[in-house]
Symmetry: C2
Subunit: 289 residues, 2 copies
Amino acid sequence: MAKLLTGKEVSADIAERLAPRIKRLAAAGVVPCLAIVRMGERPDDMSYERTATKRAAALGIEVRSFCLSADAPQAALEAVIDTVNADDAIHGCLMFRPLPPHIDERAVCDRLAPAKDIDGIGSASLAGVFADTGEGFPPATAQACLETLDFYGIPVAGKRVVVLGRSLVIGRPVAMMLLARHATVTLAHSRTEDAAAHTREADIVVCATGQPRAFGPAFFAPGQTVLDVGINFDEAGELCGDVDFDAVEPVLGSEGAITPVPRGLGGVTTSVTMAHVVQVAERTLEGGR
Amino acid sequence: MAKLLTGKEVSADIAERLAPRIKRLAAAGVVPCLAIVRMGERPDDMSYERTATKRAAALGIEVRSFCLSADAPQAALEAVIDTVNADDAIHGCLMFRPLPPHIDERAVCDRLAPAKDIDGIGSASLAGVFADTGEGFPPATAQACLETLDFYGIPVAGKRVVVLGRSLVIGRPVAMMLLARHATVTLAHSRTEDAAAHTREADIVVCATGQPRAFGPAFFAPGQTVLDVGINFDEAGELCGDVDFDAVEPVLGSEGAITPVPRGLGGVTTSVTMAHVVQVAERTLEGGR
């Protein structure tokens, strides 16, 4: 049986470190506040929003939801972003993506005030991740991968990592973060020939393509660590990852490790999001507001 | 004998496409102008500056050199950048790096006006390369790699590329540009275990570590394309690349290809720099100045 890298323990650890900080903020009259911006009602967005709202409440973080219909115009979404930017009581903003195809996503992402960009969607944060300057915030999902590896004591430096998927939400940022931690990183994707030949040679495989159970046993080898970023719903409406868990887990063997879906990286991502909100709230305090 | 991917032909092609554009600018009273900012007198910087100045003159592009001593303070360098930013007659700025260790390099790079950042050193350009938005300019050396592959008809999509070196000047940007062109890209570096095992499996290897003749025959295989970005001086003071050319070229075989040093990518980088300057000059014209 491969080791299960469940998210609960990682989240508990993050929450434990956040508690005294949120207490200090409360004592100064500051309640950390997260704005969630959503267009339409995609089930994965809705599911994540419910989890985030529950988690925030448990930690003492406020959530304000801004919901638009899937066909709302660009101007309506921009007006929401402007509201978020202007409201000093809001510390961070999480906007679900991908946005509908009629929206200029890059423009909206860059409209968000960099100081509130706790999910690393704006150009300033992207440059920070790419250049490893520590400016801005990395995307929460990408950081969740690192937090999970660190919590479970899985080394990264000098290891071979293959990242499947090259999105800006997760593939490219996590690749840069792993590179900064001295991994040898390969970015594979839909146009990669024989991706399995790459992944089988890796120490760590990050699956981030958003295709339900796309990666079966042929992609993996004993002793590997598999991070499954996918949050998909299969044809039966069941939540599943990018990895065909039941078929892959036995291949990894007792030296291997894998994040399950559900109960894996999703919850850690939520925790990282909350940690970023708290960080921004602390900065506003330091700023003397 | 491997095919020699000499830069001269690539540069001639770029120059040919630039000539009518520079003519049109001249007719409108605009002489494209490049500022070169240099600290100290490193031989590779000096060599590049001489080449660039000569090339610019041949094309009808003006060059203004700003030289500081290697121990000039941060404020002096920032004053130069401010001068460059403020002067409407200067269209682009090339600043040699790495800067001396007492300089906050990131701060200086971000001080340069993004519109004049023709070598892709500022955060806006970095985000553009990382996110593939087309904003800003990619580093000229990284683009020179792509121009050379394109000129010689070497396909990139679906190919395995290994980039040796992860600097922001070349390794990371060229990796992102190749990824955007659908290559499967591995970033290897000083902490990579058995880098040769990676490079031997690649279709294209980009060598960008700045170590003279660091990569010998064990790193390569028949049929590969090798891009040698290195511009180093060996112990005898001779200009050489990161690749041990004489030993590696025979390994690549008649199906292989390699950029020589000198006479390789260096000249193409200069041409790309000039093309970026012309592009900015055209923008100022469109802007109605």
